[in-house]
């Protein structure tokens, strides 16, 4: 169904903020409360805003089911690949080899209470990003499936 112009304008105005806030929650998962699951759900809220304010036939042009399915599968595969990388690099499954080793997310962490640096924690931010992509794709594809069954009533 197509909502009024007020609802559509508000949704258009607010969904980028939803996406940016979700991205913040995902990327800062190792420093602040939150993480992949929560941030992915916040990002899916942005997609849900667009979905409830517009007709399914209009929204499917830019928010394709196949893209979201791909997101979901790629997120889970990224998680498993990150785990297997630890296994093949000579450690255990999901071994955190990047932590404190320099390079990407490899800065050492000071012991005790400190505000924290974004570029720390090794594997954990990568896993957070993978889970975030998966949750975004999964929740959005559930919404798309459910809306695809709605009968469209012409206004």
């Amino acid at each position: 169904m197509n909502m009024t112009k007020i609802v559509r304008t508000t949704a258009d105005l607010f969904y980028p903020f939803c996406l940016v806030f979700g991205l913040y929650v995902v990327l800062h998962g190792h420093l602040t409360p939150g993480g992949g699951f929560q941030g992915g759900a916040v990002m899916a809220t942005g997609a849900a805003l667009l979905l409830v304010s517009r007709r399914y036939a209009d929204i499917i042009q830019s928010l394709r089911q196949n893209t979201m399915k791909l997101c979901e599968a790629v997120g889970l595969l990224m998680f498993i690949t990150a785990g297997l990388a630890g296994l093949f690099a000579g450690g255990a499954f999901l071994h955190n080899r990047l932590a404190g080793a320099g390079g990407l997310f490899g800065e050492p962490v000071a012991f005790g209470a400190n505000p924290g640096v974004l570029n720390t924690a090794g594997l954990i931010p990568l896993l957070n990003i993978a889970v975030g992509i998966e949750v975004l794709g999964g929740l959005t594809v559930i919404l798309l499936y459910m809306l695809s069954g709605l009968k469209e009533s012409e206004p």
């Binding site: 998962g29 190792h30 785990g83 999901l94 000071a110 594997l123 954990i124 499936y145 069954g149």
Partner: protein, 94 residues
């Protein structure tokens, strides 16, 4: 008769569980070795300032993989429920 007996047994069981639950110490675990270990080593082993994230994604990363798989399976189930019917196919009603 059977319903009354069943209800009586349920009530007795509930009273027993409640008595045990009230007697449990809350917030005072008998052993705190694991808690102390996680708090002491979250920063040098998992390199994360957020202890919860270090437990969820590092010490228990395999558990998180299972959670992600559960979500994936749930989406698969929803997809099967809301799939398009083939031409000539109808919903089955039991």
């Amino acid at each position: 008769m059977r319903t009354a007996l069943f209800t009586a047994i349920l009530l007795v069981l509930l009273a027993g569980f409640l008595q045990i639950a009230v007697g449990l110490p809350f917030g005072k675990p008998a052993r705190t070795d694991m808690d102390d270990y996680f708090l002491a080593h979250a920063q040098d082993q998992a390199a994360a300032n957020n202890v919860v994230t270090s437990v969820v994604f590092d010490f228990r990363g395999f558990d998180t993989l299972g959670e992600a798989t559960v979500l994936f399976t749930a989406v698969l189930g929803v997809g099967m429920m809301f799939r398009k019917l083939k031409p000539g196919e109808e919903y089955e009603h039991d």
